[in-house]
């Protein structure tokens, strides 16, 4: 088939296709659902009894705020990647990585303050599984949503979708778990989150092609 024939064929099958809409509107609708989901997960896991005291500690507050910021920017970036031109807001795609870098610095500083690294107990795997369990449904929902678009960065879409979902898990876990050992948090919460984000990138590469 030559190009002229292709054009005639494509024109012949054109019908009114429902537009994807603006990312802000899409984000608010999906975001409301995810927020309810996060609140439900938090209600199930509960809050740590000393939460009010923890919120007087600046490093704890900074950690939670950065997690929230990473969640929101990753979510926004994942939505923007649904559009081939990222809705011409390409600069916003860099924000999650910048915030993750800042977060990594915070964790390393706190690790330095916590003294020598001791053996990380394998019971911590429960926290990782909890984060993964919380993240599965939002990840799946985001992947299904992104497939409705036409991403030209499938790996990035997958990575941000997984990062946003795992951030929800990390926040829920951080607000409910009565552990402040940075070695535990780094080893069983945040490092697995990065690994899950990498897995998300791989899944994105496989599943978000069009």
């Amino acid at each position: 088939m030559n190009t002229e024939q292709l054009i005639a064929s494509l024109s012949g099958e054109v019908t009114q296709k429902r537009a994807l809409g603006k990312p802000a509107a899409l984000g608010l609708r999906m975001g409301a659902v995810l927020a309810l989901y996060g609140l439900a997960a938090q209600w199930l896991l509960g809050f740590r009894p000393d939460l009010a005291v923890q919120f007087t500690h600046p490093l704890y507050v900074l950690e939670v705020l950065l997690l929230v910021a990473i969640m929101l920017t990753s979510y926004a970036a994942a939505l923007l990647t649904m559009y081939p031109d990222q809705y011409q807001y390409r600069s916003l795609l860099h924000w999650p990585t910048r915030l993750v870098s800042l977060f990594a610095v915070l964790i390393v500083v706190q690790l330095g303050m916590s003294g020598p690294i001791t053996v990380i107990h394998p019971e911590g795997i429960g926290c990782t599984l909890c984060i993964a369990s919380v993240a599965i449904l939002p990840s799946a929902a985001l992947f299904i949503l992104i497939r409705r678009g036409a991403t030209t960065t499938p790996q990035l879409s997958g990575l941000y979708a997984a990062l946003a979902s795992c951030s929800v898990g990390c926040i829920v876990q951080r607000l409910s778990e009565h552990t402040d050992s940075m070695q535990h948090l780094a080893g069983w919460h945040y490092l697995p989150t990065l690994i899950f984000a990498g897995i998300g990138a791989w899944i994105g590469h496989k599943e978000l092609k069009w």
Partner: protein, 180 residues
């Protein structure tokens, strides 16, 4: 004659009308952008492959048309899809060229004769001629027959360290003879 901004406004309007279901406008849009896309593609790909990639891009534009709502410039959207498909094509082309193998027999008539038959006078014996007997034996045992320094020493009744020193001196003499 339309000025550049008007030209894009017309194309954008045609695309939006096509998205709304107007087949004629959609066809005029595709016909209008084809020459520009072809130029962009041919800047990066060989002409033989450009038409295939152009058709891929047109199909992709058709599939992704629901992601453009007319509220932003059209050209970045078009160029993003075009770049995506060009890079996709290049990735596949590189992967295919790495996997493909060529039967070397098919190149026999093309490749120049790179090996030469060694003449009678081109022999390692010539290089060893000026080397003393004992060192010649050591080099032959170690580098021709493959014995270690320890094994060579055992055969010749020498210490391992003495074998190594003798071998080193012999190689040095040969290098001097070869001019390296």
């Amino acid at each position: 004659m339309s000025t550049k901004p008007n030209k894009y406004a017309e194309i954008t309007a045609l695309f939006c009308e096509g998205n709304a279901g107007n087949a004629l406008s959609y066809q005029r849009f595709l016909v209008g952008i084809t020459p520009m896309l072809r130029r962009v593609i041919m800047r990066r790909l060989p002409p033989a492959d450009a038409e295939d990639v152009l058709q891929e891009v047109l199909i992709s534009i058709h599939k992704a048309r629901h992601t453009f709502d007319g509220d932003r410039p059209l050209m970045p959207w078009l160029m993003a899809i075009t770049s995506f498909r060009i890079n996709d094509y290049l990735r596949k082309a590189y992967a295919t060229s790495r996997r493909e193998t060529v039967d070397i027999d098919s190149l026999a008539d093309i490749l120049p004769e790179v090996t030469e038959t060694m003449g009678a006078d081109e022999s390692i014996n010539e290089l060893l001629a000026d080397v003393p007997e004992r060192e010649r034996k050591i080099l032959t045992l170690m580098h021709v027959e493959g014995f270690t320094a320890k094994e060579t020493g055992a055969k010749l009744g020498m210490k391992e360290s003495a074998v190594k020193v003798a071998a080193h001196r012999a190689v040095k003499k040969i290098r001097e003879k070869m001019g390296t």
